[in-house]
């Protein structure tokens, strides 16, 4: 069976001057992957006629599906729509459905007074050679084109508009044009060791995998996800084979295994809390609320998470968490004693079953010889017991915060499992 390949073209100067981080491509790739389409290339080009034109030529030579995002905004630097109209040999017509929708959005949703801006009226003009894709979340419609057996979809670059269009309009149409293989994934989520160490441990397993099962290492903040992917026609046989291989893999990495599905760490913690009917809170100094954010990013987090005290200043540590002045004076805020008192204070004040506390030096300033940038103390505890760990990171501020938050959440996870 022939592979169905895709290319993603993202358009916009903002991508080339580095102002915008391209999160769309990763999301699109994930969704395509799920239905058995392999993304073989992603290209970002500016709002430059020739560059966009050449990208369309180059990508349609190698790929069956070409997904285009961006360049459809109402401002003057967006040239994508006229270019697509010419590329596919069409002419502009006003689409009445789009016009109605744009009018509806301005009158009922945005509720902007005054006459509609001419720029927005332009949104209702589409090439007569495209299938218009309804963009429920914005004024710029999606457009579907066909040429020489290849499928092209153009969508706005605004992430939530693009996601709506992909989910409701583009993805459901792909199986009508192409016969897709079955793709199955299994993901082992590990924390506590590095890529090299895991690679060493599973190298015989990795070498024994058949051609149609692939292993990917997906590292992130102190974690490594190991993803097995099988591709083929016989779904049942593939699932059986993949499950067998996955069982072997899980056994090999069992000491570091956090979860055997592809989820984030906060979700793992959330499930444990739900299952055990327990509550948590956080007392955060150096992580500054980021652990609470990781937890509350997941819908349904109110089940086990009650709240946090972000005690950035020392007087908040004292008054709201009960850290003693003596401790802060003698050993400082970044110390084992401080995080122990913080976690005890959090359990008591937030009235939770378990809490985690962090204190550290995230950089770039504030380090000393004794406590260099990256020094972190973490404590996890309940009413009767506290455990601590000292960590040393050596990254930049952003990454230190992310690493510390994930390490703290994992430390809390292990504490809960061992003490309930």
């Amino acid at each position: 069976m022939k592979n169905v390949n895709a290319s993603i073209i993202t358009i916009g100067d903002e991508l080339l001057i580095g102002q915008t981080i391209d999160t769309n491509s990763a999301w699109i790739a994930q969704e395509l992957n799920k239905i058995g389409v392999w993304v073989q290339r992603r290209v970002a080009v500016g709002d430059v006629w020739d560059d966009i034109w050449n990208a369309l030529d180059a990508e349609s030579k190698d790929s069956d599906i070409i997904l285009i995002t961006g360049g459809l905004g109402p401002t003057a630097d967006d040239i994508t729509k006229p270019l697509l109209c010419k590329y596919f040999g069409g002419k502009f017509v006003v689409n009445e459905d789009v016009l109605k929708h744009v009018n509806y959005l301005f009158e009922k949703v945005y509720r902007r007074p005054g006459p509609m801006l001419e720029r927005n009226l332009k949104q209702a003009e589409v090439p007569d050679v495209c299938t218009v894709l309804h963009n429920a979340r914005g004024t710029a419609p999606g457009m579907l084109f066909e040429k020489d057996g290849k499928l092209f979809a153009s969508m706005p670059g605004v992430p939530h508009e693009m996601k709506g269009l992909m989910t409701n309009e583009v993805l459901p149409r792909i199986p009508k044009y192409f016969k897709l293989p079955f793709i199955i994934h299994r993901t082992a989520f590990t924390m506590g060791t590095g890529e090299s160490m895991i690679a060493e441990k599973i190298k015989d397993f990795e070498n024994s995998l058949p051609e149609h099962i692939k292993l990917a290492y997906l590292p992130g903040y102190g974690m490594v996800k190991l993803r097995l992917t099988a591709k083929g026609d016989d779904k049942e046989k593939m699932e059986k084979e993949l499950d067998e291989k996955f069982a072997v893999l899980k056994e090999l990495v069992s000491e570091w295994l956090v979860s055997d599905i592809d989820e984030n760490l906060a979700m793992v913690v959330q499930k444990i809390l739900k299952e055990k009917n327990k509550t948590i809170g956080t007392a955060e100094s150096c992580t500054g609320g980021y652990i609470a954010h990781l937890i509350t990013s997941n819908s349904g987090s109110s089940v086990g998470f009650k709240g946090s005290i972000v005690s950035y200043a020392n007087d908040i540590k004292e008054r709201m968490l009960g850290v003693t002045d003596k401790t802060l004076r003698s050993v400082g805020a970044v110390s084992e004693e401080t995080v122990i008192q913080m976690v005890k204070g959090a359990v008591e004040k937030l009235q939770v079953d378990f809490a985690v506390a962090t204190s550290g030096i995230m950089g770039p300033d504030g380090g000393s010889e004794e406590k260099p940038v990256g020094t972190v103390w973490i404590a996890a505890g309940n009413k009767t017991k506290v455990e601590t760990v000292k960590l040393a990171f050596r990254f930049d501020r952003e990454r230190n915060i992310e690493m510390t938050a994930h390490a703290a959440l994992n430390f809390l996870r292990k504490f809960i499992l061992a003490n309930s």
Copy 2:
């Protein structure tokens, strides 16, 4: 003067299956832009020999500088180094400096017991046709190649390692190979209106700009940054001209202007606090600590920021912030009354000059007809005064949290400016 163009090639299956969001390219593009190099294309390819080879061919045809990240890890799926060795006609040799550095990292920094893994020893092997670039932050060295007047730099994909290599090794070398123009930017940071409205307001200004001054719209969470970029040889003349144009632009958008430099919103607030010698805190329900995180992401935030109470559960709102049971029962947590009480509680309990409070429904669950998903109440206040605003978003959870946090921080900024 000829433009110096660059291409960025990112390598790795993780980019094509969407597991990793490519933050490297944006950062690299920003840094190149600053020194007058224009990124004309970004390409992501998988760990596939032909795809990488073809990308090198294609990009070096059009660009002067080709920056390559990723594909240098110690695991089996990384083929970039042997490919580069062959592409540039070299053979592998062990580099003694790299070997020493790898040994040092394992012995002194990582402190891993046992013999060094063979995979890591491999890191010290480099093509004899490259200039080795010292990677202080990791084991995989950077490599610089020259071919037909084009410059190629290969770096690991780990962001903090790549950043170190770019800053210390790659960027300083570029002016030795290419004559670069002067590039100057001015950025007007606005909040409170959309791209279309601004475009309408400044269209005459935009049309009046000379060819060598470009305007870019850079939208983000409820904000739009307007960036003017001038490019040329005569730095003094350019600066004078750009400053004149920028003054006009600032005047045109003055009602929405937050700052006239390219910084984040939390930095703007931080500067105001420093200047006025005031302190702030947050009381966060629906934003779950994200406002505190935005603030503490900036180094030096301890100057004005004292801390937060993340009151996700109602009993935390009552006990720690003094929201009354009566209010919660009668009008609910997502109400004007609740955020008023929250902000008063925060000012008192955190002992700060100003506070901001948020309560809302971030979705996807929890909405009702009366309070649909996206309903948000925000309050800002000091000891004597509280102001509130009700907002309605219509995005997904992640974006609702980001939009709410930025709107709250901007509401707090305006409150501080009006009341101190």
